[in-house]
């Protein structure tokens, strides 16, 4: 064994390359440069190739790959257990073994994760279940854990795999000589040391390490094996260190972007810049967004969970739907995730149709909601997998089915070329997700070969899918590298940014092992199981920071926010020199990428041809629509001219006042037409009918409404305060206005007295206070226009017009009811004609293109569907500003 040591930047890697090159000609097949991570492999390959060396890609590998390769060359080709399958086996063992010590937590996801992590910890420490069993006086969790570990290990073997420790031990049998350089390592786990020890017996091994405290263990190890030590001259490089303080995380990210742009302008290529991230969940999405805004090309060396990828949602969702009976809501989410269907106009229609029909379930009902066409055919084909629920197949056969599902069904339509690198990555992640999903599922096929039901197979497969991640391919030549702090400590770049340098993340608190407390670890160490203690982890944290400080040749930028993502104060890391003065981050933003929309020229339609179109659209309008126009032109324009509609209501929100109001109206209409029937019964029938047609979900809320409205119904039918000579209900009438425009109305009830007098009644189910306001309103047209309609169409004399607020059985209105003492407002002079004039003015203005938002009763805006669209508050603001007064600005 040989040891090359030197300060960062002293040329260790260059020396390794030289030696590699020199050896290449003589023995190309058995050379390996081994580095810690897969990303470093690519980095080293580039560096070598730039030297115009032609070499086998297999000659630069990560340590994990190298171990797998050495194992694969053995006759029985031992393989390491895939993560997903390991998780399945652990869950299974926890369920079956029922340890009282873990009884209350055995079924939790977290406990399975703890067991997996602890197995890994012990495997890496080179321990075995036997060894653990031999250690005395451990805490209460040691024994059950050991049994569990042993069971899992056996199960792993039965599946034809190995745990990591076993695999590494097995590789000792591979005595194939080779020339090996290990470069870029700061430490090894105990089992890796054991591997190296074995390796050095048959291979010519060189270890190239940074000369620092962090690598002391490697140094001691090499020396113990009698390695020849070579210390390269040269001092550690000291990049210029800048400390930046920002108010928030967003400002910190902006500042990193600003500095990257400045460095690039000064000639440092993006590929020579890196950002080291500790807290990926916070920083990766933030940096992605920020770099995208500022136009900085970056590669993010992070995987993302498979679970939320549309491929996983689609494929997993279909299988769950088979098992759960195609619930509309979840199936819709599933189908929407399809890369071709989900964004088509046909699916948009299907989407709304299903949302309107929710809640529901079943293949046939679902399909009935899809219009004929390609989408229906595709969905129909896909829903055929419903037949799977009765099959019993071997795992490998299930995999074949799943494979067919994934490769034949999950495909985009015609694919345009991506517009930029980010879009390209998105396109790639579909592919990566399908692959990762199939890989996860296929790992389960190692389970015993008995036929199982879809439910059982999916139960195991979904655990593996949940544990899977995706890494879409990415290999652009000139990008800023964004990576974890662990990855970054091995790279060499011109400038390194370390973000989020707060005391929460640097150093990070080590969370203690739940199964083995510190005193157990002491005992295990004494017994020769070299587990790490809290103090070791703390030491690692310091070394991690120190090695980050040496990765840049030119500049190191350490930054931190004063507040965390949720706005709480945080402190600068104590690892940063306390006396160092921080620079503050100036506010910055990128130039706009596209032309900004100019101020909206809103509120009018100027082209005469369009006025004609509007007149055509509105040849005949309802009085309710006219009320909208009277209240606000834009409301009418939005709702009636543009016919804007919102997405369907969720089931629980469908029972709106509009719906209950209409139930009452329909019931009244039927009852008034035949008063011999019991109104409450009529009401009940209409209510039930509406529940069906409007898909109102059964339950407490529905019954509450039913009971309350039944009460109202009782009151309505019980309280007639006057006796007319005759009565008509639901009377359709029309009024002509210039345009010509016909205004349609439907009078709920018209009572006639004597020859000519009549009383108009309108039932209102809204809140009584709101009904009362109708009479006070100066804008409303319903009252006077009803009066007008009756006069003009029926030649009757309306002596009273009243609103019947059915909730509280109150009556408000104008005029006088013959023979009854109902206090009403006096009918205003010229009432109907005034309303007519107002209507004509409104209609003609609107048809001439005045469609602007101007609410007559601002209170109404609160209930208006178009309050987001009309931007009325900006208009009010403008008016208020224009209203004069002094300005403090």
């Amino acid at each position: 064994m040989k040891l090359i040591r030197g300060a960062p930047g002293s040329g260790k890697t260059a020396l390794v390359f030289r030696e590699f090159k020199d050896t290449l000609r003589s023995d190309a097949a058995n050379l390996r440069i081994v580095v810690p991570t897969a990303t470093l492999v690519r980095h080293f390959q580039h560096e070598l190739a730039r030297d115009r060396i032609v070499f086998s890609p297999r000659s630069v590998v990560s340590l994990n790959r190298f171990i797998r390769e050495r194992a694969a060359a053995l006759p029985n080709e031992p393989k390491q257990i895939p993560d997903g399958l390991l998780r399945v086996l652990v869950r299974d063992a926890l369920d079956r073994m029922k340890f009282p010590e873990f009884a209350s937590v055995a079924g939790t996801e977290g406990m399975a994760a703890v067991i997996v992590d602890t197995i890994e910890l012990f495997e890496n420490a080179g321990c075995t279940p036997d060894k653990l069993a031999s250690v005395r006086k451990l805490g209460p969790h040691a024994k059950p854990f050991e049994k569990l570990w042993r069971t899992v290990r056996d199960a792993v073997r039965q599946c034809g795999y190995h745990l990591r420790g076993d695999l590494i031990r097995a590789t000792a049998a591979n005595t194939q000589p080779a020339r090996i350089w290990l470069d870029g390592f700061l430490n090894f786990s105990p089992i890796e040391y054991a591997f190296l020890r074995e390796l050095s017996k048959t291979c010519n091994v060189t270890l190239a390490i940074t000369d620092s405290k962090a690598t002391e263990e490697i140094y001691r190890f090499a020396v113990s094996l009698g390695a020849k030590d070579r210390l390269l001259p040269g001092k550690s490089r000291k990049p210029r260190t800048i400390l930046v303080e920002a108010r928030t995380l967003e400002r910190e990210a902006d500042e990193i972007a600003r500095r990257i742009i400045a460095l690039e302008e000064q000639g440092t290529a993006f590929r020579r810049l890196a950002v080291a991230v500790r807290e990926a969940a916070t920083w990766v999405p933030l940096l992605k967004g920020t770099f995208s805004r500022f136009g900085i090309p970056a590669r993010f060396y992070f995987s993302s969970p498979l679970g939320k990828q549309p491929a996983a949602v689609f494929l997993g969702g279909l299988i769950s739907a088979v098992l759960a009976g195609w619930d509309f809501e979840t199936t819709l989410t599933t189908l929407r995730a399809h890369p071709r269907w989900g964004t088509s106009a046909a699916f948009d229609r299907f989407d709304f149709a299903v949302r309107e029909a929710m809640p529901g379930r079943g293949v046939a009902d679902l399909l009935a909601l899809c219009e004929d066409g390609w989408l229906r055919e595709d969905i129909a084909a896909c829903l055929k997998i419903d037949a799977w629920k009765t099959s019993l197949l071997k795992p490998a056969e299930w995999l074949k089915r799943f494979d067919a599902l994934a490769t034949n069904l999950y495909r985009p339509g015609t694919l345009d070329t991506a517009r930029d690198a980010v879009s390209l990555q998105s396109a790639r992640s579909h592919v990566a997700a399908v692959r990762s999903w199939l890989d996860a599922v296929s790992s389960i096929t190692a389970l015993p070969e008995q036929p199982v039901s879809l439910e059982n197979f999916w139960c195991a497969a979904s655990i593996a899918v949940d544990a899977a991640v995706i890494h879409p391919a990415e290999d652009r030549a000139n990008v800023v590298h964004v990576m974890s702090v662990y990855e970054a400590r091995q790279w060499d770049v011109a400038a390194l940014f370390v973000c989020g340098m707060t005391d929460r993340d640097f150093p990070r608190q080590h969370s203690p092992n739940l199964l083995f407390p510190e005193n157990d670890i002491d005992r295990l160490r004494t017994a020769g199981v070299p587990l790490r203690k809290a103090a070791d982890y703390e030491q690692d944290e310091r070394w991690l920071f120190e090695s980050l400080c040496t990765r840049a040749s030119d500049s190191l930028v350490l930054s931190y926010p004063r507040h965390d993502a949720s706005g709480k104060s945080v402190q600068r890391s104590r690892l940063v020199d306390f006396d160092r003065q921080a620079e503050s981050a100036p506010l910055c933003r990128p130039v706009p990428q596209a032309l900004t929309g100019e101020p909206v020229r809103a509120g009018s339609v100027d082209t005469p041809a369009l006025h004609a179109e509007m007149a055509r659209l509105h040849q005949s309008i309802s009085l309710t629509a006219l009320e909208d126009l009277a209240q606000c032109r834009f409301r009418f324009f939005s709702g009636r001219t543009l016919a804007l509609k919102a997405a369907p209501e969720r089931p629980g929100e469908r029972l709106t006042p509009r719906v209950t109001g209409s139930i009452l109206h329909v019931a009244l209409e039927r009852w008034l037409a035949d008063k011999t029937r019991d109104f409450v019964e009529v009401f009940e029938a209409v209510f039930d009918e509406t529940c069906r047609t409007d898909h109102l979900p059964a339950g407490y809320k529905l019954e509450v409404e039913r009971i309350q409205f039944r009460e109202i119904a009782r009151r309505v039918s019980a309280n007639d305060l006057w006796t007319p000579d005759s009565s008509q209900v639901e009377l359709p009438l029309e009024i002509e206005f210039p345009g010509p425009i016909k205004v349609r109305c439907r009078i709920d009830r018209l009572d006639t007295f004597g020859n000519n007098d009549c009383v108009i009644v309108d039932y209102k189910s809204s809140k009584t206070a709101n009904v009362q306001k109708l009479v006070a309103s100066r804008t409303r047209l319903q009252g006077p226009l009803y009066a007008l309609a009756v006069r003009e169409n029926l030649h009757l004399n309306p002596v009273a017009m009243l609103y019947w607020a059915v909730r509280d059985d109150q009556r408000y209105g104008w005029g006088k009811i013959p023979g009854a003492d109902v206090p009403l407002e006096p009918m205003p002079d010229n009432w109907a004609n005034d309303a007519k004039a107002r209507t004509i003015e409104r209609l003609s203005g609107f048809l001439a293109g005045a469609v602007h938002a101007h609410p007559e009763e601002t209170e109404q805006c609160r209930w208006c569907e178009f309050s987001d669209t009309c931007r009325v508050e900006t208009l009010v603001e403008i008016e208020r500003a224009a209203g004069g007064g002094s300005s403090a600005g």
Binding site: S56, R258, G567
Partner: protein
């Protein structure tokens, strides 16, 4: 803050190894004392930080304490390190940490997540609704009766509030169910009899009125005595109708009859109600129990705990597990607890379990207990305070106030000393301010008789006006420095979240910068609503309200005329947009700028929708906003709104699909009035608007208490809870008066009495807290109509103008003031950066076969190699039709498998091979070339390489090369059936040649393709210009332009008419002449 500690402060800081109780009035330097005590414990008494537990009321206070400690120990790295893991947190933070470290013992998921308040509320809401729905489904008739029996059936929120109370009291639903009826049992019979007895004993001589009263009562008592079997409604009516008029009874009887009226009559009603509603009460408890189970189950599935669980699980852990309890007790040598007066029973039990003997240091102030409505129990503090005093332990009073002007303190005293719930004490001004000629206290009384909403809005405009007037003119003189007030010096405090709305609107209109404690209020801002609409549009453009909102917003910005034109194209706005996205000619009649905008938007929308499922939501939004040319200034109000939205997308959007995220937004919008702990993000120069509750622990030079006429009414809720009496319910009084608040059962009746007192006292204390936030200037403001002022306004109304108090009573509008937005932005301006020019977007490496695909067709390369779609032609999906080995649908895959088997066989890899593979391998082995190999000097099989060509790493594997007579010969086996495509392999073989030449220093002489199926050998020249093709590949990658190479080979291509647009526009066979069809696909077709 004092630099030198007062005597009392010294006493509080000093450690005496005794339980201690500190009463700390407002502004008394409590935090400084706590920090100093902590420091002293470490430095003077050698405590390790891990042995001190410090619990604060809010996370902000914990962070503040930690940062102050870090400052104190900045010189001592070892201590700093220890302080990082110090136990300084809120009670929930402490529980979470303890549970994480002892999860197995506590029996909870070791990776549990903590639900925030809104998440748990929402989950509870859905579980309770589910439990009620189940009741309706399973016990339909009973459920309907229950609905009719309840005073109001809308009880979900009240039940949840009660549930929270039950848990805060450390109780279970079952325990509450078991609470006995708090009313002493009454019996109408005996009540009647005793009344009759009493009436008969009235003096014989009575005035006629008294006589009438006596006989009315006698008759009534008789009816009561006989009423036992009567219906509930009749009985209630009878009790209601009791003809007792205290004015008409003899003086001697008055007291007894008063008692009869006030106590016995209500208890008769309650008695009847209890009997009548017993089974409904049981139903309510059944629902609560079921809900409790459902909620626990949902949390278990999610692996989550809510805040209450944190406390409960910790209490359980410490109670049940002696080891853990002993360890924790032994660990903490000092337990410091702030705001002790706001602790609840469960928390109190927790502290009891954690604290050993004489280690407790509690700080509180009974006058500042304001969380009774969240089930805090101030009596716990009172009890402790008394116990410490009685036992002669360490008791301190910090009464000096180092925050407020003397006149403000006097105003507080004059209004509140002696008020119910306030412990009278003198507030001693501990600092002196410069004297000034203008009053430090302003009262604003805004009159508006007709419209309450307008009154509030006008009041809000006056407040805005006052802020604009005082900013820059009001002199502040704290710390002996004189300066003029700026926005950040002001805080507006409201009684509840609802009252903030008009104030924020007024600030929006006048341009006053503010930060509001209203959670997520940016969602209601213009930007928030536009972005939400954009997301709705991306989710489904058939939501045309959202679509129109976006089109009219600055994101697109088209006029209404164009909107109409789009709608006219297809009957709906979304239909019209769809038409445009396929046929932009339809835009011919549009105004040119609008046409351009719409076309761009339609194009972008398609992209966003395609990318949305796979792209992180924040990134999607950032890109969409950039595509729209929308920009924002960091630091400005609008910028903050956008960034808050992005932050929400980042944190809440990650794990959700778009529709789920939109549902989340909706729920957040509904919850906006719920205030969370105010984040302490220093929003720069902005007015802070928050509830008085949220202001606890804070101080502001200028404090405005707004909307003082508004109050709360918690005692009259239809469901109430108190730990003493349990769950109270109000029932339907069917025979009662209209708008009756129902009939209370016994539990409800007792609760109401208790809650009424609590409400009143707490209102006084809240006002005390609010007023004592003010440093130098206090504005008390309210609006009023015709009626007399109520709530706090009633208290303030008693103030008279004086040297220190000015009062403005007006019905007028304030003069209009507006501040231009630019002034509100940070003064130092915003840098605008150009986007960098980007070069080198190509890949750094390529493999040889990909390059060959590129040379054949760039688009195929893009689809298959660059994006990675496998090119299997989809023959439609049939779930029963499993791929078979010989399935022609998988011919490509089978061919590929066969190809690799042949290659492996020829490379000498041991294994089991099919006859087909062996036959094909034999073709090579027995051919001329194969024989040459056998006799050659050097042979390499499966020779893989990486070579750098013009900066691109090229990777490949040569099937075979050998050296024969000093010449290098390359062989590539092909198992394809298409020997006439030999030329397309030129780039591949040329690259092999280049790699070998570099590696060996010698140029290969020949390169052969061997088509094994037909045993055809084709020699390929090695002069192909590889640099050129690599250059072209790079150019394509740099520009992302991968043109179609539509030729005869397309029909054989797996992407034809699927992922590739080739052949999709027109009739494909017309496009590709049959003569160009390759043999295989002609066969296949």
């Amino acid at each position: 803050m004092p630099v030198n500690f007062t005597k009392d402060q010294h006493s509080a800081i000093e450690y005496r190894k005794l339980d201690a109780c500190v009463t700390a009035g407002p502004g008394s330097g409590k935090t400084t004392v706590l920090v100093e005590r902590y420091r002293s414990l470490i430095e003077d008494h050698r405590f390790e930080p891990r042995r001190i537990l410090a619990i604060t009321f809010t996370e902000k206070a914990a962070a503040n304490m930690k940062s102050k400690l870090a400052e104190k120990f900045a010189h001592d790295p070892l201590r700093l390190r220890e302080l990082e893991s110090a136990w300084v947190s809120t009670i929930h933070g402490f529980c979470a940490r303890l549970l994480k470290e002892n999860a197995i013992a506590a029996g909870i998921d070791p990776r549990f997540a903590v639900l925030d308040a809104r998440e748990s509320e929402e989950l509870q809401y859905s579980c309770l609704n589910a439990a009620l729905d189940e009741l309706v489904e399973q016990r339909h008739a009973e459920a309907l009766e229950l609905i009719e029996a309840l005073q109001t059936p809308y009880v979900v929120n009240n039940l949840l509030d009660a549930y929270d109370g039950i848990r805060s009291a450390g109780k279970t639903v079952a325990e509450i169910r078991a609470i006995a009826n708090p009313s002493a049992s009454v019996d109408p019979q005996s009540v009647a009899e005793s009344l009759l007895r009493q009436l008969r004993s009235w003096p014989a001589t009575l005035t006629p009125a008294r006589r009438t009263q006596q006989s009315a009562l006698l008759e009534w008592a008789q009816r009561l005595a006989e009423s036992n079997a009567g219906s509930f409604a009749e009985f209630v009516r009878l009790v209601h109708d009791c003809p007792l008029h205290l004015g008409k009874v003899p003086e001697s009887e008055k007291e007894t009859l008063r008692e009869f009226k006030e106590t016995l009559l209500p208890s008769l009603i309650a008695w009847a109600v209890d009997r009548h509603t017993a089974r409904f009460r049981a139903l309510i408890f059944d629902v609560l129990t079921r809900f409790d189970d459902l909620y626990a189950e949902r949390k278990r599935v999610l692996g989550s705990l809510d805040f209450n669980d944190l406390e409960r699980c910790t209490v359980d852990l410490l109670r049940r597990n002696d080891d853990v309890r002993a360890r924790i007790r032994a660990q903490f040598l000092q337990v410091m607890l702030d705001e002790f007066q706001d602790i609840n029973e469960q928390q109190s039990s927790l502290i009891e379990l954690v604290r050993g003997e004489d280690v407790f240091f509690a700080v509180g102030d009974i006058n500042q207990s304001i969380y009774g409505f969240r089930h805090a129990r101030p009596d716990i503090f009172r009890g402790y305070e008394a116990a410490v005093t009685d036992s002669g332990k360490h008791s301190v009073q910090l009464l000096d106030n180092f925050r407020s002007r003397n006149e403000i303190l006097r105003c507080v005293e004059s209004l509140l000393n002696g008020a119910e719930g306030i412990a009278s004490r003198e507030l001693v001004a501990g600092v002196s301010f410069r004297s000034k000629s203008t009053p430090s206290i302003e009262v604003l009384k805004i009159r508006e008789d007709s419209d309450r909403d307008e009154a509030s809005a006008r009041e809000a405009r006056w407040i805005a006006h006052r802020i604009l007037s005082l900013r820059g003119t009001l002199e502040l003189s704290a710390d002996d420095k004189i300066r003029h007030a700026d926005f950040s010096d002001f805080a507006v405090l409201c009684r509840n979240g609802d009252s903030m709305k008009p104030i924020l609107e007024a600030f929006d209109h006048t341009g006053i910068p503010y930060v509001s404690g209203r959670r997520q209020s940016f969602l209601l801002s213009r930007e928030g609503r536009d972005i939400t609409a954009l997301l709705h549009t991306i989710a489904n453009p058939r939501d045309t309200i959202a679509l129109a909102t976006v089109l009219r917003s600055p994101l697109v910005g088209i006029g209404d005329e164009s909107l109409l034109r789009v709608r006219l194209l297809a009957g709906s706005l979304s239909g019209g947009l769809n038409v445009i996205s396929y046929d932009s000619e339809k835009l011919a009649d549009f105004a040119p700028r609008d046409a351009e905008k719409i076309e761009r938007f339609a194009r972008n929308l398609k992209r966003w929708r395609a990318e949305q499922p796979v792209m992180p939501l924040e990134l999607l939004l950032v890109r969409a906003l950039a595509d729209c040319g929308f920009q924002w200034d960091p630091g400005a109000v609008r910028g903050d709104n956008v960034e808050n939205f992005l932050h929400l997308a980042r944190t809440r959007g990650e794990q959700r699909d778009l529709l789920e995220f939109l549902a989340e937004i909706e729920s957040l919008q509904k919850a906006i009035n719920l205030e969370s702990d105010l984040s302490d993000k220093d929003a720069g120069n902005a007015v802070q608007v928050m509830t008085a509750h949220a202001a606890k622990g804070l101080e502001f030079p200028v404090t405005i208490i707004a909307a003082m006429d508004k109050g709360t009414q918690r005692n009259s809720a239809p469901v109430t809870f108190t730990p003493a009496f349990g769950l109270g319910l109000a029932w339907n009084d069917s025979g009662g008066k209209k708008n009756s608040s129902g009939l209370d059962d016994s539990w409800q009746w007792h609760n109401s009495e208790e809650l009424k007192d609590r409400e009143k006292q707490e209102a006084h204390r809240l006002l005390y807290v609010a007023m004592t936030r003010a440093g130098e200037h206090l504005i008390l403001s309210y609006s009023r109509g015709k009626n007399r002022p109520s709530n706090w306004a009633k208290i303030v109304d008693t103030l008279e103008p004086s040297e220190h108090i000015s009062i403005l009573e007006t019905e007028a509008e304030p003069p209009v003031w507006r501040l231009s937005e630019s002034r509100a932005i940070a003064e130092d301006g915003v840098l605008t950066l150009d986007r960098p020019e980007i070069s080198g977007r190509h890949d750094s490496a390529v493999n040889v076969t990909s390059l060959a695909v590129f040379a054949d067709c760039p688009r195929k390369y893009y689809l298959e190699r660059y994006v990675g779609w496998n090119g299997r032609r989809s023959s439609g999906f049939d779930p029963e039709d499993l791929p078979r080995e010989d399935d022609s649908g998988d011919a490509d895959e089978n061919a590929a498998d066969l190809g690799s088997a042949v290659h492996e066989l020829l490379a000498g890899k041991p294994g089991v091979y099919s006859d087909d593979a062996k036959r094909l391998a034999n073709v090579f082995l027995t051919c001329e070339l194969g024989k040459r190999v056998e006799s050659s000097a050097r042979v390499e099989r499966e020779w893989d390489f990486i070579v750098d060509v013009e900066g691109t790493l090229v990777r490949g594997t040569v099937d075979l090369w050998f050296e024969d007579s000093g010449e290098i010969v390359i062989v590539d086996y092909k198992t394809d059936r298409v020997p006439d495509r030999a030329t397309s392999y030129s780039p591949q073989l040329a690259l092999y040649g280049l790699a070998l030449e570099r590696a060996l220093g010698k140029r290969p002489k020949q390169a052969w393709l061997h088509f094994l199926r037909t045993n055809t050998l084709v020699e390929v020249p090695l002069d192909y210009d590889v640099k050129k093709i690599i250059g072209e590949l790079r150019a394509a990658q740099n520009t992302l332009k991968f043109p179609l190479n539509e030729r005869g080979h397309c029909r054989a291509c797996r992407f034809y008419r699927s992922l590739c647009p080739a052949g999709q526009q027109a009739n494909a066979s017309a496009e590709i002449p049959a003569s160009q069809m390759p043999a295989r696909s002609a066969e296949a077709s």
